[in-house]
């Protein structure tokens, strides 16, 4: 008997154990989604009764798309999803540019007071949004806006009031800063020697090699914005501009229609899943990279 087969057996057990553990974890994370989708197909009474057994996870019994039809009847779901997609997409895209450029400035450029400003930016982490919500409300309510209807004072009841205050993110700046700081300085120096401008270095050197951090920042910001609740609740009184999370409350009446709730949640989860699945490789790379670098 050589040592090699023993090591192989150990290896096999290790692999089997790992896969078993990972499968259990996967089930734990997948089960809520399965429950949500399966429940969205059941009538309320059956849905509630099935929660007492494993039937809750199985598409059995009186299965139909009735809850989806009822959900569309109850609330303007298309409007809510459009608003959230628009607000989230614009905030993420513009935010990536603004925050990465700010981080580029902190990580690569040399200017007086840089570290102090960076400290102040990082210090804003500790202030919860709830603490600044009311002052922010008063500020946006007194700001001018030039739109199709002319000059108006106050940003309430609009999409831009849900976008502009969230374009700059201290967390994103910090995330980009950490990544940019660890990039090889030789790349930047070489570009400088070649005569590249500061913007060209950012655009042609830094951005192309920072895909993972852009993906991570995009996903995290997307989730933040997609789940926005308190701010739109405060600044949007018109149904026309409501996002999906406020829209969810349309389904919580005196007698809650759980099937419709699940149908609505299934619908609004789709954009998040699409984004995550399309960026997951870069996301995992970024997380892994950050983890290795500590």
């Amino acid at each position: 008997m050589s040592a090699q087969p023993v090591r192989t057996r150990h290896h096999n057990w290790y692999v089997l154990g790992s896969y078993t553990l990972l499968s259990i974890l996967a089930f734990v994370f997948v089960f809520p989604i399965v429950f949500m989708v399966v429940s969205s197909l059941k009538p309320d009474l059956q849905l509630l009764r099935d929660t007492a057994s494993l039937n809750a996870f199985l598409p059995i019994g009186d299965i139909s798309l009735n809850n989806y039809a009822a959900a569309f009847d109850r609330a303007p779901i298309g409007t809510f999803i459009f608003n959230s997609v628009f607000v989230t997409t614009v905030t993420v895209l513009i935010g990536l540019v603004i925050n990465s450029m700010a981080a580029y400035s902190f990580a690569v450029l040399r200017w007086r007071g840089k570290n102090t400003v960076l400290s102040i930016v990082i210090a804003t982490f500790i202030i919860p949004f709830e603490a600044i919500a009311i002052p922010l409300l008063l500020i946006v309510n007194s700001l001018p806006w030039l739109g199709p209807e002319g000059l108006q004072i106050g940003w309430l009841n609009s999409l831009h009031v849900q976008i502009i205050p969230f374009l700059v993110s201290a967390f994103q700046i910090f995330l980009f800063y950490q990544f940019f700081r660890d990039l090889p300085t030789e790349l930047v120096e070489a570009a400088r020697i070649d005569g590249a401008s500061l913007f060209q270095i950012y655009y042609r050197v830094i951005v192309p090699i920072s895909g993972p951090v852009f993906a991570t920042a995009a996903i995290l910001r997307f989730l933040d914005m997609w789940n926005q609740y308190l701010w739109p609740l405060m600044v949007v009184q018109s149904e026309r501009y409501r996002p999906v999370m406020v829209g969810l409350q349309y389904f919580f009446q005196l007698n809650i229609a759980w099937g419709e709730v699940m149908a609505y949640l299934s619908l609004v989860t789709i954009p998040v899943l699409i984004l995550y699945l399309s960026l997951q490789r870069a996301f995992i790379t970024s997380i892994a990279t950050t983890g290795i670098k500590g």
Binding site: D44, L48, R74, L137, L138, N141, L156, Q237, F251
Partner: protein
Amino acid sequence: MQNKIRFVFAVLAVMLVLVGGISAQEPTTLSMWYHGAGNEVERGILLGIIEDFNASQSDWVISLEEFPQISYNESVTAAAVAGNLPDIIDVDGPVMPGWAWAGYLAPLSLPDGTLDNFLPGSIGVWNEQVYSVGLWDAAVAIFARRSVLEANSIRIPSLEEPWTGEEFDAALVTLQGTGEFEYAFDPGMAWTGEWYPYAFSPLLQSFGGDLIDRTTYLTAENVLNGEAAVAWGEWWQSLFARGLAPLTQDSADRDTGFIDGRYAIQWNGNWAALGALEAFGDDLLFLPAPDFGGGSTIGAASWQFGVSAASEHQDGANAFIAFALQDEYLAAFSNGIGLIPATSTAAAMTENYAPGGPLEVFYELSLQQAVLRPPTPGYANIALAFEKAAADIANGADVQDSLDEAVDTIDADIEANGGYGFGG
């Protein structure tokens, strides 16, 4: 000459058109906020009232904006901070004094006698002035099955002769002892928030306690933590300690537990009555709250209409509210969403609350037994303090300590807010 005459007539005609245009002013738009977003039936009825009102006169046009009920209060508060309140505000009864005190609402100005026939719980009074009025009220009752009570030789109580506290307790013990039910009593522990003060504080009042001293509205001392309140707390705690009621419960259990026969009797509201009736038909009973010595009482006050203090058109807002209070609309809301119409004449027009109707008893409960949650701006804080105390007690905390803590919280809030306008 003829041309001149034609010219003069043409000029006169143009002037008449212009004058007519000036005198026929555009109606003023009144904004109205409502908590019923997502409820198609409610929305349909309200839009019908608005349509009728808009067509009935030429001075005002109502523009409706709907909000989800769960976050409605937060939306109104934020709008008040931003100075963006509408002309007509929908307000939950117990919240009204807070909004009136904060200056969000103006007193109503309705024609004399408008509210003469209204249920007391549907009229929102603060500082001796009417600030809001509802088209309906809600009531809770004990849901039970005649066959179950009779099989266990338990007396069926009536409005005139409700169960005494001892009778009620003994009935629970008997029902638990049959072994047929997981729990004898479902008080509704799955529902948190306003359900606690709305549904459970009447039991405290029946013991002789209350949420606040209603003679002054300045303290809860000796009322929420006095002997009577402690007696309530000990009984309340014993419900769970003796296994007569479920301490924890999910929403599914709350919705189906009684219908599926896991709970023998249930403390629930008229909004759940039709579902239970479907399941049990004539076997279902709606019974009054037990009388623990201080009377058989239930909570009152639901959603009501008020006028914004910031409205520049309060006369128009009042005109709309007066218009909406017609019996036909009260009955339409009741038939549509199952709530108790605010007048007896409207009740007579409904399917469920008319004399002989399946839910008639709820109207009588509202009329005879309703006690308003304390009409004070401090109510929001009182409700939170009571909810915490009741939950802590149910979970086994010391009764006296829990109630003392609630009293301290309530009194400190009242003091911090200068008495909320009470006490001079």
